[in-house]
């Protein structure tokens, strides 16, 4: 079951089980993604994690913002992908001891700490856990519940084996107990296991050690540690979780009662200048608090939720709407106030909070429970890693990175991904992981495929002569399904259905052991068809098809009955009806499965060329990386020059000269022999599919045709043209980009300006453009600092709604304030007013705004007014969306396949996304994402073939009357007539058929059929409905 190298492998052998391409340090979501991208593109990876299982912090989260996806549900398939991947070697309970060598040739000594359980023998049966007499706080549940001294990290852990905590184990303390060793039938317990050293050779390293949660216990912030009902947000995350200490019921620690009034306190450990705090913004807390509010209200609709916050930083894609969703729930208050804890009320153990509002002054209010929205700090072992790998850290203890390539550390060959770069959410961590993989690929391109191995499946059993023997597995999904749907009843029901020979429950069908068990049952019981009643096939079908293949039957002998998204989650209050519906769904699925046929997939060749649309910063970065990795790239730009929006940027907040960088990048792109730059180009037509696209375009007026295997959309965004604040009528009113241009060119109007006012949120955060443009707050700060630098006495005012200088940008916000930049908050219903004034022979602008603290109108006289004009989607998006069959979100930006885990992919295979076409973002973020998109595109292009689905059409010739109805329906031109002994008959070209089945609905005789969705299969579902 496990192919990990075992004890004694510390010396290098020529076959090289210890020779790899890349070492990934840290097995959180970022490390996992980096490993998978590398493994899929032909590199061999060691994935090292110091904890007993991979998964990192994401595995502890209940849900993820802003889609409320179940965190474990979306992450655990990745665990299995890693564990099944022949090119990924997972080493848990392992630390780095020593690093020698240099980029391209590192020798890394690892310390495989003892887990006192032999990983290769343990089956994860949990017998030892049952018998272990020592109860200890469970670190996975943030010590809110108890587990045993020997236990499995969490139910879906990979590897799914127990480990013993030597600090609490009786044997390790005073050799008193060996019960576990006695009860283990497999003799997997090895209480005397010793640490082993292992040396691995790799060409590159990705550091993804993640972050630490700020610990409020150190200073006792807000009574944490003393007052029982004050918990951290990560603790609350576990409390919300169905696998948490209270099985998904919200209870408070002091007495286990359901709290009715919960307060969240934002910025705990973040945005603090006091000792022990962190000055920067942790970027994620606003959104995760909104998530927790929404979920808590979902658990208990009567709940009163109060969030005490500073700015609301809803700067990410769809965050603004998410905030509104939380804020608009009944009995939810967002109060802008600093707070202090009053006291813990004896008896009730409730907690009071003192806060003040502009309207009511200071108040003290009682709550049943208080959640501290704690921030992110540098990982504990960051310093240690820095010393061992010879990399530099920044003053905050995070990895010091190249400001124009946040994936590069100070040492060549060592890359960084995830929150070790600085506070990051999940998609950013995933993007940077793919990006780091792209940089490793660039470094090691010469070695691609040298060490990689193929996955082997057992031979497929021929079941054509067998009666249908269906196995039904009904998943509890922890409590996600089981809490609503009566799973045992559904199992019993399923077991009585025709052709069902086996029915059982699964706690988590997608966990390694359950999946393994399913393939075992297929073999043992001779099943030839499988129904898994669990979640949606859109996320889990690939995983279970793989499981079915492991069981030795054709992967199309499988159907998913979606009793979670379409049942348990949407009928959570009607348990009986949900159970009845789940039975119906299973009955329909079994009926369909009875008729399923084995199908073979076809392999199509891959054209190893990429087309990149958009020659801005994103497009150029992707092109250069892919070309360096040995792929041909066509870089298409609609303008006459490369550079895009970046041509209007002159410096970053961090002080980098953007023009110099972009100039150098364009030079490299033009000079690269594998990059073909096509300026003045516009796409006319796209045909084909992943691996084999043909794009026709006009380039400088000439028609061209490009054949390519993948495409990256990097078309950028545009600047909103304001219609308000006298813009266009008065040349003293500029957009921030225009202001930046004038500052850079030292234009007279700027040089002479004594007073500059900037107004934020112009053209976004409105009903029509309901999103935040993310970059403008930092842009305003950047301009303010530049203006102050030139003339410190100059008066600068920024009129804002929320300052969204997230992450380390917060420090520049503070710098601006300390240099005398004035900040005035305005409310959207009381916008500032700009008037042109002539007074005393002087022309200037007067900006009137209500000061919320004084409650009075302020009049500011300004020589220049800068408007933070929104970043709006590119005008070409609609057209491209149509041509490439990829969706846009309501704001006109491209919609990725999955917000969290596929942030640069589209659901359409072979099409990828990066830069501001996805959403507004900063220069460094764009670069990171461009590398990420390159890695994802190489996932396709590094293979010699793509697998096309077996679910395509075919014709029953005896029923075909050659009417041509199918042919006229198929715009893929996949059907034509061919001559047979019985005359003309329709014939399907398997390579061209995309399996939509439109022809089926047109055929008057039912002669043409879509495999896997045949009339008979669908009729059987209807009959069973």
């Amino acid at each position: 079951m496990n192919t990990l190298p075992i004890a004694g492998m510390t010396t290098s052998s020529p076959q090289g089980d210890n020779i790899g391409d890349v070492l990934v340090v840290g097995g959180g979501i970022s490390g996992i993604q980096a490993s998978l991208d590398l493994a899929e593109t032909g590199f061999r990876v060691f994935l090292v994690d110091k904890s007993p299982a991979i998964g990192g912090k994401m595995s502890q989260l209940d849900k993820t913002f802003p889609s409320n996806d179940c965190s474990m549900c979306i992450e655990s398939p990745k665990f299995i992908e890693c564990s099944r991947h022949p090119n990924v070697n997972i080493l848990t309970n392992t630390e780095v001891l020593r690093v020698e060598g240099e980029s391209g040739d590192f020798r890394v000594t690892l310390n495989r700490k003892p887990r006192y359980v032999n990983e290769d023998i343990c089956t994860g049966c949990n017998a030892c856990v049952q018998y272990c007499p020592v109860q200890v706080p469970d670190p996975y549940n943030e010590n809110l519940s108890l587990t045993k001294a020997v236990h499995i990290h969490f139910s879906q852990a990979v590897p799914l084996v127990t480990y013993i905590d030597p600090n609490t184990c009786l044997y390790h303390q005073d050799e008193k107990c060996q019960i576990c060793a006695g009860v283990c039938q497999h003799h997997a317990i090895d209480l005397n296991q010793k640490a082993r050293k292992m040396e691995v050779k790799v060409g590159a390293v990705v550091l993804s050690p993640g972050y630490e949660v700020f610990n409020p216990a150190v200073r006792g912030d807000f009574g944490y540690g003393k007052i029982k009902n004050v918990v951290t947000s990560l603790e609350f995350e576990r409390i919300l979780s169905a696998t948490g200490p209270f099985e998904g019921e919200i209870k408070r620690p002091s007495d286990g009662k359901h709290p009715h009034r919960i307060a969240w306190i934002q910025c705990v450990g973040s945005r603090q200048v006091i000792p022990g705090g962190n000055t920067y913004c942790s970027s994620v807390c606003c959104a995760y608090t909104q998530k927790q509010v929404i979920l808590a209200k979902d658990h208990n609709a009567e709940l009163n939720a109060t969030v005490f916050h500073n700015d609301i930083r809803a700067f990410g894609k769809d965050f603004e709407r998410y905030y509104q969703r939380a804020a608009n729930l009944p009995d939810v208050r967002f109060i802008r106030s600093y707070v202090s804890i009053g006291r813990e009320i004896p008896g009730s153990k409730n907690v009071t909070i003192r806060y003040s509002t502009d309207a009511d002054g200071v108040k003290e209010e009682e709550f049943d429970m208080v959640v501290l929205s704690v921030g992110m700090t540098a990982p504990k072992d960051g310093k240690d890693l820095a010393v061992k790998f010879g990399i530099e850290l920044d003053a905050r203890g995070f990895c010091k990175t190249n400001p124009l390539n946040p994936l590069e550390t100070s040492r060549p060959g060592v890359f960084v991904s995830g929150a070790f770069q600085g506070p990051a959410d999940i998609p950013e961590s995933v993007v940077s992981a793919s990006g780091a993989a792209a940089l490793c690929g660039q470094l090691l391109a010469y070695h691609r495929g040298k060490l990689s191995r193929e996955r082997e499946y057992p031979p497929e059993r021929d079941v054509s002569e067998e009666e249908p023997k269906i196995g039904v597995f009904v998943c509890h999904c922890g409590a996600n399904i089981g809490r609503v749907v009566n799973v045992p009843q559904v199992v019993h029901f399923a077991s009585k259905l025709k052709n069902v020979v086996h029915a059982q429950e699964s706690l988590f069908a997608c966990s390694t052991d359950n999946a393994q068990q399913i393939s075992d049952v297929i073999r043992e019981k001779g099943l030839n068809r499988v129904v898994i009643a669990a979640c949606t096939p859109r996320t889990h079908e690939p995983l279970f098809r793989d499981t079915v293949r492991e069981g030795g039957i054709n992967q199309y002998f499988f159907d998913m009955a979606n009793i979670r998204e379409h049942c348990a989650w949407v009928h959570s209050k009607e348990k009986d009806e949900a159970t009845a519906k789940a039975k119906d769904i299973v009955r329909m699925s079994v009926a369909r499965t009875t008729l399923l046929q084995p199908l073979q997939e076809i392999q199509l060749p891959v054209n190893k060329t990429v087309l990149i649309i958009g020659g801005g910063l994103a497009g150029m970065t992707s092109a250069l990386n892919m070309a360096e990795q040995g792929f041909e790239a066509y870089l298409l730009e609609k303008d006459a020059d490369l550079g895009g929006m970046a041509r209007r940027l002159h410096y970053t907040l961090e002080g980098v000269d953007v023009q110099a960088f972009i100039g150098e990048l364009a030079r490299k792109v033009f000079r690269h022999p594998s990059i073909h730059v096509l300026t003045g180009s516009v796409i006319k037509e796209v045909i084909g599919y992943v691996g084999n696209f043909t794009t026709r375009l006009l380039s400088e007026g000439r028609a061209r045709e490009i054949r390519h295997g993948a495409v990256i959309i990097a078309t950028g965004a545009e600047e909103h043209k304001p219609t308000e604040y006298l813009y266009g009528n008065n040349d003293r009113v500029l957009t921030l980009l225009e202001l930046e241009g004038r500052i850079a060119s030292k234009e007279e109007t700027v040089e002479n300006a004594q007073s500059v006012v900037m107004i934020q949120c112009v053209g976004c955060r409105t009903a029509e453009k309901n999103y935040c443009s993310r970059v403008c707050c930092s842009q305003a700060i950047k301009n303010a600092l530049k203006l102050k630098e030139r003339a410190p006495e100059r008066e600068i005012t920024i009129i804002f709604r929320d300052m969204r200088t997230y992450g380390f940008k917060e420090d520049y916000y503070r710098e601006a304030a300390s240099k005398g930049v004035r900040f005035v908050r305005y409310e959207p219903e009381d916008k500032p007013v700009v008037e042109a004034v002539v007074e005393g022979g002087r022309n200037f602008l007067r900006v009137t705004v209500t000061d919320p603290i004084l409650g009075q109108k302020l009049a500011l006289d300004a020589d220049l007014v800068g408007l933070a004009a929104a970043v709006v989607s590119s005008s070409s998006s609609q057209e491209l969306s149509r041509m490439f069959k990829v969706p846009l979100n309501p704001d006109g930006f491209f919609q990725e396949a999955h917000v969290k885990l596929r942030p640069v992919d589209f659901s359409a295979d072979g099409v990828f996304l990066c830069g501001t076409a996805h959403y507004p973002k900063h220069v460094a973020e764009t670069i990171s994402q461009a590398y990420g998109a390159a890695a994802r595109a190489i996932n396709v292009l590094s293979k010699n073939s793509v697998t096309a689905t077996g679910a395509i059409c075919d014709v029953n010739e005896s029923a075909c009357v050659a009417c041509g109805a199918c042919i006229s329906a198929c715009t893929y031109d996949a059907i034509d007539f061919h001559d047979t002994l019985h005359g003309k008959k329709a014939h399907v070209n398997a390579v061209l058929c995309k399996g939509d089945g439109l022809c089926n609905a047109k055929c008057p005789t039912g002669a043409i059929f879509l495999n896997h969705y045949t009339d008979e299969e669908i009729f059987s579902q209807i009959e069973a409905s």
Partner: protein, 255 residues
Amino acid sequence: MSTVHEFKPRILGFLCNWCSYAGADLCGVSRYQYPASMKIIRVMCSGRVDLEFVLRAFAKGNDGVFIGGCWLGECHYITEGNYDALSMMHLGKKLLESAGLNPDRLRLEWVSASQGIRYAEVVTDFTEKLKVLGPIGTGEGMDENTLKLKLEAITKLLPYVKLVEREKIRVHFENKAEYEEYFASDQLKSLFNELIADKLAVSQIMSLLQAKALSTGEIASGLGMSAAEVTKHLKSSARQRLIRFDDNQKRYALA
């Protein structure tokens, strides 16, 4: 309206994999609640939904049939099957109507992958509408046998309907409103009456005669048609030698 107090409609939904099914998934992920009235069959494209699926679903006793697809212009496939689904839905409504069933029992909606809340709203709304319409057949004042017979008659006619659709009816418009206008037009009405409605009536009569020979009056009351209408169809069918008048029984029978 004789709506039974406790009536809970049963709906069968066909959702395209790329938009509506994904929207339904998102709806679940977001925990938006809706009634447990609808079961789903996943198809790759709404254009895959065959009229026969719809009819079979009603014959199986479903009170409503739902089709969910991508918004026009957003189909995952270049075949843009959602236009076909729209056209099929209109034709389906016509067929239901001509069989005396309420066409509102068939509903098509566009739900994109990002419209979780819309999915919940649409299912809730459709369920409420069907509650008002009442159970299939009963709501129309039709007994179970008549309902079966009528649906069977349409199903038998489907190969012909598909040919007619392709040759005479199929159009392509850019938006939903234009389709609505077209299917409500007199031109379409006369095409439908001329090419399909009569055939459908004959098909129903023949289905009815399959069991036993019947008089004009009996046929008329069995199918809810006027005697004059029945006579017209009987005459033409007799001419085509589909049926005959049995002198002994003084009834019409299959030829």
